[in-house]
C-alpha cells in the first residue's frame, strides 16, 4: 500500500522544507548515469557547487550519500593510519569526527569547548603549537547540535600557516551563512543538501583544495573505503567526456540538487544569507517577547538554527508532540548533553520565511499556554509583526 506522508512544516535541524521546484525535479524521467545528458548535469552541478562554496577547486562534487558519508569521505581520503588530527570539539559532530579518525587508526587530539560556545581560537592556536606534527585540524563551522558558528576563516588560516590541512564541517552552513572556501584557504569542506539548500536529504557536497587533492593522490596506503575513494570518484566526476564508471549515481536525487542550486544561484548567495539573518531576527523578537532565550551568545549564533533554552518545569517533549500533532510543525529536540535543555528551531533554506516564523511563534505560544506558562498572549506574534513591518 502506498505511503502518503503528512504535510509538515519542517523547522527542525534538517531536513528543512523542500522547494516545490526541487520536489518536482525529483520526479523527472530517470536517465542513465553515463548518458551524455547526465554528464552535462554533472558538469553544471559541479559549477554551481563551486559557486555555493565560493571556490575554484576542481574536486568539488556531491558524494552519493548523506552528510555523514561526506564527513567520512574527507577523513578517510586525507588521513592515514598513524597520522594525528587536532579536533576542535564543541558539540555532537566533533565527537563523530573523533570516531572517524579512530576508525582510520589515526590519533585524534581532542580540544574541547563547552557545547553552545564557538571554538576558542586561542585553544586552537595552542593545540597547533603543541602538536606541530598533526596532519590536520578539523572543526565544525556550523554546529547543528548547538546552533553555534565558529570562525572558519581564522581556523583555516591558522592551519594553512602551520602547514596543516583543514577539514571543515559546514553541513548546516552552506547557503545560509558565508562559506568562502578559497578565501579561507580551507582544504576539505563537506555539507549536506537537506539544510539551507532546501533539497531532500541524501547527498553530501564536498570540495577539496588542490593541496588536499595532492595529498590524496600521494597516499602511501589505499583509501580504506572503496565507495568513498576520491581517486576513483574523480574518474567519474572528472574533466572531459570520458567518465569511467565507479558507482551508479543517484540520478533523480541529483536532479533535485541541481534544481536547488539553480534556485540558490537565482537568489544569489548574499541575498540568501541576508534572508536567513532577517528571519532569524524576527524569530528572536518573537521568542524574546515570549520570555524565551537563545542558548548561544549573539556573535556565535547561526541564524538558520536557533537553540532555544527551555524554561524549567516544562514538559518539552509534550510541546514538540503537540506542535507536530496540532500544527504539523516539526522543531528539533536537544542532542547529547543538551537533550531536554534546548529546542532547535531551524530557519533553513525555504523554511526561512516570514510565514514559518509566524506559524512557529503562534504555535509555540499555544503550546506554552497549554502548560500554564505565564506569558502575555499575543505579545510574541505582535513583536514578530512589528519586526517585519519596521
Amino acid at each position: 500500500m502506498s505511503f502518503y506522508p503528512p504535510q509538515r512544516t519542517l523547522m527542525g535541524p534538517g531536513p528543512s522544507d523542500v522547494y516545490p521546484r526541487v520536489s518536482e525535479a525529483l520526479s523527472r524521467p530517470t536517465i542513465g548515469h553515463l548518458d551524455p545528458e547526465f554528464i552535462r548535469l554533472m558538469d553544471e552541478t559541479k559549477q554551481m557547487l563551486q559557486y555555493a562554496f565560493q571556490t575554484e577547486n576542481q574536486l568539488t562534487l556531491p558524494i552519493s550519500a548523506p552528510g555523514s558519508a561526506g564527513m567520512e569521505a574527507c577523513f578517510v581520503n586525507l588521513i592515514e593510519a598513524g597520522d594525528s588530527v587536532i579536533i576542535m570539539q564543541n558539540g555532537v559532530f566533533g565527537t563523530r569526527m573523533r570516531e572517524n579518525v579512530m576508525r582510520i587508526g589515526a590519533e585524534p587530539i581532542m580540544v574541547e569547548d563547552p557545547w553552545g560556545q564557538a571554538v576558542d581560537l586561542n585553544k586552537a592556536h595552542d593545540a597547533i603549537t603543541q602538536h606541530p606534527a598533526a596532519k590536520a585540524i578539523a572543526f565544525v563551522h556550523a554546529e547543528t547540535s548547538t546552533g553555534v558558528k565558529s570562525d572558519a576563516a581564522a581556523l583555516c588560516a591558522m592551519a594553512a600557516d602551520a602547514g596543516m590541512l583543514s577539514i571543515v564541517d559546514t553541513v548546516t552552513g552552506l547557503g545560509g551563512i558565508e562559506v568562502a572556501v578559497d578565501a579561507w584557504r580551507a582544504d576539505a569542506v563537506y555539507s549536506g543538501t537537506q539544510k539551507c539548500l532546501s533539497c531532500v536529504p541524501g547527498l553530501s557536497p564536498v570540495t577539496f583544495s588542490p593541496r588536499a587533492q595532492q595529498v590524496i593522490s600521494k597516499r602511501s596506503s589505499p583509501v580504506q573505503s572503496w565507495f568513498l575513494d576520491m581517486n576513483l570518484i574523480m574518474g567519474y566526476w572528472g574533466e572531459g567526456s570520458q567518465r569511467s564508471y565507479h558507482h551508479t549515481a543517484p540520478v533523480n536525487a541529483l536532479y533535485g540538487l541541481h534544481e536547488a542550486l539553480s534556485i540558490l544561484q537565482e537568489e544569489g548567495l548574499q541575498h540568501s544569507w541576508a534572508r536567513h539573518q532577517h528571519n532569524h531576527r524576527a524569530l528572536k523578537a518573537g521568542l524574546q517577547a515570549m520570555g524565551l532565550n537563545l542558548l548561544v551568545e549573539p556573535d556565535a549564533r547561526l541564524p538558520q538554527l536557533n537553540a532555544v533554552s527551555i524554561p524549567d518545569n516544562l514538559d518539552e517533549a509534550l510541546v514538540r508532540r503537540q506542535l507536530l500533532q496540532d500544527f504539523n510543525l516539526e522543531i528539533g529536540a536537544g542532542l547529547g548533553q543538551l537533550a531536554g535543555k534546548i529546542w532547535r528551531i531551524g530557519l533553513m533554506g525555504c523554511s526561512s520565511n516570514p510565514a514559518n516564523v509566524r506559524l512557529c511563534i503562534a504555535a509555540l505560544e499555544a503550546c506554552l499556554l497549554n502548560q500554564d506558562v505565564s506569558i502575555d498572549a499575543g505579545a510574541a506574534l505582535a513583536a514578530v509583526n512589528r519586526f517585519y513591518s519596521a
Copy 2:
C-alpha cells in the same frame, strides 16, 4: 537553469525504467527522519524487503547509498583485518569484492571462472576444502557485467556446511529471479534499487542472517566505516518506537523504494519472475532471428540482463549512439574484458515488457541495416510478434 532530462527507454544494465508511481512518490512532501510517520514508513519498508528477499532476518533494511555501498557494508561489517575470504570471481563485481577485502586488511582468496560463465561449484568446493580457515565465501548471484546467474543456493549451502559465512551480491537479481535468502541459508546479501525493482538509483537493500548479526556484534575491532557500521544503523532501523539518530535518512528516496516494493508485492514475486522470463524469451527470439547470439549458456542466463555477442566488423559504439539519439533507447556496453564484445540489454522491472522488447528489436534492426549487416528486414520483429501471440 533547470535541467530537463530527455525521455529515454532504459534497457541497459540499470538504471531501468522507473515505475510512474515511483516517480510520483519521490515528490511527496518531505518529513523528518525521526517523525513517527517516517518510523512507520521504515517498518513497512523493512517488511516488504523481507518479502522481496524471502527472509525473516530482522536486520533487513536499505543502506542510504547505492549498491557499491551495500557491498562495502557487507564486507566491512563481517570481515576484519587478518581474516581471509574466498571470492568466486566471474566478472567485474568479483574484482570489486577483492578491492573491498584488501582495503580491510584481509586476504582475498581468488577463484576465477571465465567471464560469461557461472561460478564453478567444484572449484568452490575445492577452495573451501583447501582453505578451511577462511571466514567467508563471496560471490555474485547475478553478474551485471556478463548477464550470468550463479547457483546461490548451492554456494550458500556449501558455505554454511563448512561453517563459513556467505556474502552474496544480487544487485541485479532482486525481483527479477528467485532470491531466497532463508532457504539458501545466506548470511549477507545486498542489492540495488535501480534494477529489477524499477526504483531510482541511490539505495542498497541489505539483509543479514542472525549468525551474521552475531558476528558483527562480537567483532574484536570497530567497523572501519562509521557511516556503514551496522551496530549503529541497527539503533536507527531497529525495533520499537525509540530510534537513535545515526544519519539523516534519504527520506524521499525511501518513499520511492516503498512504492516500488508495494508494486512488487501487488504483482507477487512469482509473477514478477515469470514476467522477466517471458519477455527475455521474446527478446531472444527477436535477436536470434536477426542472427545475434547470447554470450551466456541457457542454464546460466539472467532473463533480466541479456549479454549479446557483437558481430565482427560492426562499429558497436555507433550502434549504441544511434539507438540513443534516434530512438532515445539506452542499452549497455560491455565492461572490462568484454568491452566491445557484448552489448548488455536489460529487461528489468517495468522495463521488462512487450513494448520495450519490440522497440529494442526494431531499433536494433534499423541500426544494423544502417551498417550494412546482412539481415532479413522485418524477420526479427515478426519473430517477437509470433512469440507473444503463441
